[in-house]
Subunit: 443 residues, 2 copies
Amino acid sequence: MSESDIQIEERFLSDWSGLKIGRPCEVHRPRTTEEVSELVRRCRDEGLSITVQGGMTGVAGGAVPSEGDVVINLERMNAIEDVDALEGVMQVQAGATLQQVQEAATAAGWMFAVDLGARGSCHIGGNAATNAGGIRVIRYGTMRDSVLGVEAVLPDGSVVSSLTRLVKNSTGFDPRFLFVGTEGTLGIITRLTLRLHPPMGQAAAAWVVASEFEALPRLLRSLKRTLGSALCAFEFMSGRYVRTACRLTGAKAPVQVEGAWHVLIEAAGTAGQPMEEALHEALTHAIETGELDDCAVAASEAHREAFWRIREAIPEVLTHLKPAATLDIGLPWARTGEYLKAVDAELHARLPEAEHLFLGHLGDNNLHLISGPVDEAGVHVVDEIAYRALRGCGGTVSAEHGVGRLKKAYLSVSRSPGEIELMRRLKQALDPTSVLNPGRIID
Amino acid sequence: MSESDIQIEERFLSDWSGLKIGRPCEVHRPRTTEEVSELVRRCRDEGLSITVQGGMTGVAGGAVPSEGDVVINLERMNAIEDVDALEGVMQVQAGATLQQVQEAATAAGWMFAVDLGARGSCHIGGNAATNAGGIRVIRYGTMRDSVLGVEAVLPDGSVVSSLTRLVKNSTGFDPRFLFVGTEGTLGIITRLTLRLHPPMGQAAAAWVVASEFEALPRLLRSLKRTLGSALCAFEFMSGRYVRTACRLTGAKAPVQVEGAWHVLIEAAGTAGQPMEEALHEALTHAIETGELDDCAVAASEAHREAFWRIREAIPEVLTHLKPAATLDIGLPWARTGEYLKAVDAELHARLPEAEHLFLGHLGDNNLHLISGPVDEAGVHVVDEIAYRALRGCGGTVSAEHGVGRLKKAYLSVSRSPGEIELMRRLKQALDPTSVLNPGRIID
């Protein structure tokens, strides 16, 4: 393995992840499914462990090899193999980047709906393996909802071709769901058929502020009714996050209120359909009922971009608060307000020197926490506080980042004993000697 | 088993299904998951086979017991256990009817999106087990897209509780997908958490006619762009189906054209949003480009209902053509036109005395065929013609009805050898002695 590989590996791990990066015994970049199949078969026969790598942008340590692993990196299997421009269906190899997929869809007059910051580096196969979420889940769902079919190499080297492209196919077990979201522990995804969507129209954006978190789910419920599926973003941020982000980026908060909770809201219709008026009307009602303290609608595309600049200041925030703990929690709307209150209070009591910033995608039940600067012990305090409060809430320790190596210890917060036992049985049935991505999700 | 049970069983099987209905040794109607678990455990220990029954409205023979089976019917587990009216999430027992679920959602100010003709009898657990489609898939997806979590009893009697209600949960294998669509072969679904949607607005309807099938996918592609997710029905019918349906019901075709292909189109927005104008505009363009022969927009709710009366005349058509063969095929848009032409020609050549009527949900890749009257040999001719033409088309022998017992022989038309082998391995891993629904999907 070259030095540059090691560097790529390292860049996504926080200082305190505690993960030891092993030196692989072999690194392969196969060009065909058959090569992947042969590699896997040989590793199984020789008792070697495989680490599967996509674009290595994950934050759960899934792509980090153990000492002596065989690394299989899919980056050379990056072809856009077919685009059906009539129906809006695409077949790709797993190593294509998300951006390649998006651009090929656009070139054919369609849109690929999954989008996230790492689009230029992350692989579509990795997006599928981790069931990536991103910024449009409220409207288009997660990666799972954009995958129509899959080809994968099983831990014994056999190939399962399930490259169907049908919306409906009720003929027994659907292999997609064995591989999407299982982070390469049950098979290596080599090809995908993807569902495309018609291009979205220009988005209208608004920024609202509320004193009480409880106003947010009620607002979201109301906007789902008035805007329907035109609602394409409902990104909440704590006032502390907004103030830190504005300070670090030089941006100005769109609303001059020291509000506790800010939300960036977007609505987009079909291509050419203006949405400003509909969004304005939908928000007017909420302001009249006294739920919101203030509201600003972006008057131009530049305004809209300025709103997003604040929401997307996470790299600057992470650099400023380094070393930071970051969490990716999920929980029901009705439990989110009280959870935030309790966790925020405990974090400030136990780590008073650090900043604790919340933001998330409420429509996806997803809450991110950034705490920093914290030392290694502090990271464990954050984990402990956040995950303990999560028990009994019907929540998850990972909404969209995956379990990988880093969240394995907390799996039981999200999953019942029966679920964990079932995962073990599936792993045992398909990978009895644990050839593929051992040490991820479960042991 | 009482006589009435046998009668219920029989009503959904065509005269020529060739299925022998066995007499069960025991029929149970458990009230709790624990009872189901104990029953399954005992059957496994005693080497008995279980037939799982929901509302018994399936058309693939899945609920038909073999001689000596233990029948487990879920009808007494029919509670709506919880409705979260804020977020739009519901927890139900598997034996609740689809209509119960729909009504409970409506009472809470929400809508349950899956809908189909058997709503009053079919169970929500059966809908999940067969991944039911229905009339709103183009907008809301199949049953799979409305299931957030599941509780199921495995073939060894253990209970897997995965009643999550989160939109995103990236913590490993998602048990939903082991049970949704696998027709009770890997577990008995006992509870579900369901996603609800905001109520739909009043639909606007149109009826269009085209000479060439190829105009239909182009029209659908165009409507997806102009109407977006407001498009909620695109139901095509062959001219022969429309003429037969009109003759049998006394209905008048909305458009006086002897067109080869008719389409019932619906658009609906959010509650209170009128859609007539948007639908009219969207269709005007298609007419101007010469793709359509004619078009009528429903001027009133009575008109709209009259349109649907024709589309929903299937019971009358089936009675008239009895005994009839019915098929539930799926295939890509681009292959549908040539497939229809080839199959229609061959059916008329080989079964000239019968009527052969086509209709389907193009947005779901779904095509239904009704051929009748045909004798038992004729049914096999229809199957042979329709499924032979399907090979190599990327199609499926069942888009929404399931495989059950009746389509098992044709599984290889839809599924690759690798997929079938994978299904066998999963069945073997979870149900090595084939206790649950043996003889369904695969042997």
